[in-house]
Symmetry: C2
Subunit: 340 residues, 2 copies
Amino acid sequence: MREKRLGQQTIALKNPPGIAAAASVVGPKEGDGPLKSDFDFISEDAYFGEKTWEKAESAMLKQAFALCCDKAKLPPSSLDYIFSGDLLNQCVGSSYAMRESNVPFFGLFGACSTMSEALSLAAMVIDGGYADACAATASSHFCSAERQFRLPLEYGGQRSPTAQWTVTGAGCVILKAGGPAPYVTHVTTGKIVDAGITDVNNMGAAMAPAAYDTLRAHFADTGRAPDFYDAIATGDLGNLGQDILRELFSRDGVDLGLGYTDCGVLIYSGTAQDTHAGGSGCGCSASVLSGHLLKGMLEGRWPRLLFCATGALMSPVTSQQGESIPGICHAVALDVNPGN
Amino acid sequence: MREKRLGQQTIALKNPPGIAAAASVVGPKEGDGPLKSDFDFISEDAYFGEKTWEKAESAMLKQAFALCCDKAKLPPSSLDYIFSGDLLNQCVGSSYAMRESNVPFFGLFGACSTMSEALSLAAMVIDGGYADACAATASSHFCSAERQFRLPLEYGGQRSPTAQWTVTGAGCVILKAGGPAPYVTHVTTGKIVDAGITDVNNMGAAMAPAAYDTLRAHFADTGRAPDFYDAIATGDLGNLGQDILRELFSRDGVDLGLGYTDCGVLIYSGTAQDTHAGGSGCGCSASVLSGHLLKGMLEGRWPRLLFCATGALMSPVTSQQGESIPGICHAVALDVNPGN
């Protein structure tokens, strides 16, 4: 039954689904950053018209979903499934955003790798003949994440230099059978990799070994080298994690090349925006993919993209109990002209 | 591309995957209940050899997974994917249980509907040609759930009559292309349904409308009536939710019949075990399916089963903010002789 399987972790889609539309909605800080012209909507404040940050996150994700349906000219009723997740306890960002959608719903938890996970499953259920159109979405919000994972914002805690800044952002992609371009051609699903990192202020180091593991599997399974892709975007490893990933590959004699970048590095101007090691959160790779990377594909800047969102599968409770931080990374290959 | 789709929410598997093995591991209270002879392993205490309840939950799930691989005579290295989720913040029950598995991992959050969600996706990726064997797993733990969702156990809080008791239990099912029986033949994926219930001590009432919505869609999409199945098991609606579901169907003139039951009702002896409205938690339907329902199928007691785990997609934070409780239910049809 594994006729679509290449190697241990990668599958090749027989009839690659295309991306009918993508939409991104972000907060004011992200709208001040280097990618500001790529986002569909930048909110003037972090509340998105709501009274709490958790409700704000759901409102933002709901807006990205509605915008994406509009852009794809597909009403929610024509979608077969929504795949969605976020960082909030019990993934309530997604549940409350989608509760009025009236679309069959699969809730995911992949931490900051969620956008890749959602794209992977959406692509498989379309290619598998179960669906014609699916939405893949994810979100994060700086304020809801800070109080849940770290400290009350009012406390004004110092941030360590290796810390990343949780992106206030949501991304939505609608995949459709038959296209249009770009197409999802391959999916490499990550294993959980735990390198023993226990510093919750250094997620880049915790997730880089997972990115290395998945990318290495992708290259081995497909027979491709990094230069097959015009762009390889991990996310959200940040500056430190990105360097660690390059270093891990260079030990194997593999150069990730100039096409390699990271969503957490792209989204902020580190020095000017005081974001230390870069952006993070499910919304980081989700909004950078939906707002920047897919746009660049359609404009011919990088016709072949390997999108590899990374996640840290920990909680404040596991860290308090002395556990190390397991990471995961799922890679999705996108191609404007898969026939070439 | 929707050649395997029946109606709006249901898909029919072309080559129904079978269940190679199932395993269940539970705590002492569940091991004292009416299903005690159906579980594979009953722990003498709730710690499962660990020092915290969260670690205990991961250890229990890891044990169920290992036991299931043994029973299926399939080492983890022969599995293509694991689909797993739980109730803990950031789903750490699953992540830490599976971090040494070395199997491509999809993390799910469907609250107590997780076992149905995992089975649904595992069945689709096998039938779709992406995998030969997948594990679907879920867990919950009374002690980790109480302190996360409710009150410190030491406080000894009173429980309302409508409250359910979170099951300490884990279930694992390994699906395999081609069989053996029973086979997964249909999957009906639920939409999020919010009936406006705000009482966190009455989850049965919050989830019953979602079960009604999904079951109604399943019957409409497949043209089947409740009596097509020898058993229909929702879970975990408990006594109250079960009665609400019967009532909702009776208003349509549909009798769910004697074959209808609920995993939350089956697992405890309510009066003797002081569990009020019944069991709950991802581990409730997961362990009842893996330990009791699948055994009954193989023994010929109910050759056709509709398994419909139900989840409440809320968090303590959303309830504190006055939100109502959205529910979801995914239905999976299992058949010992799907050709008949």
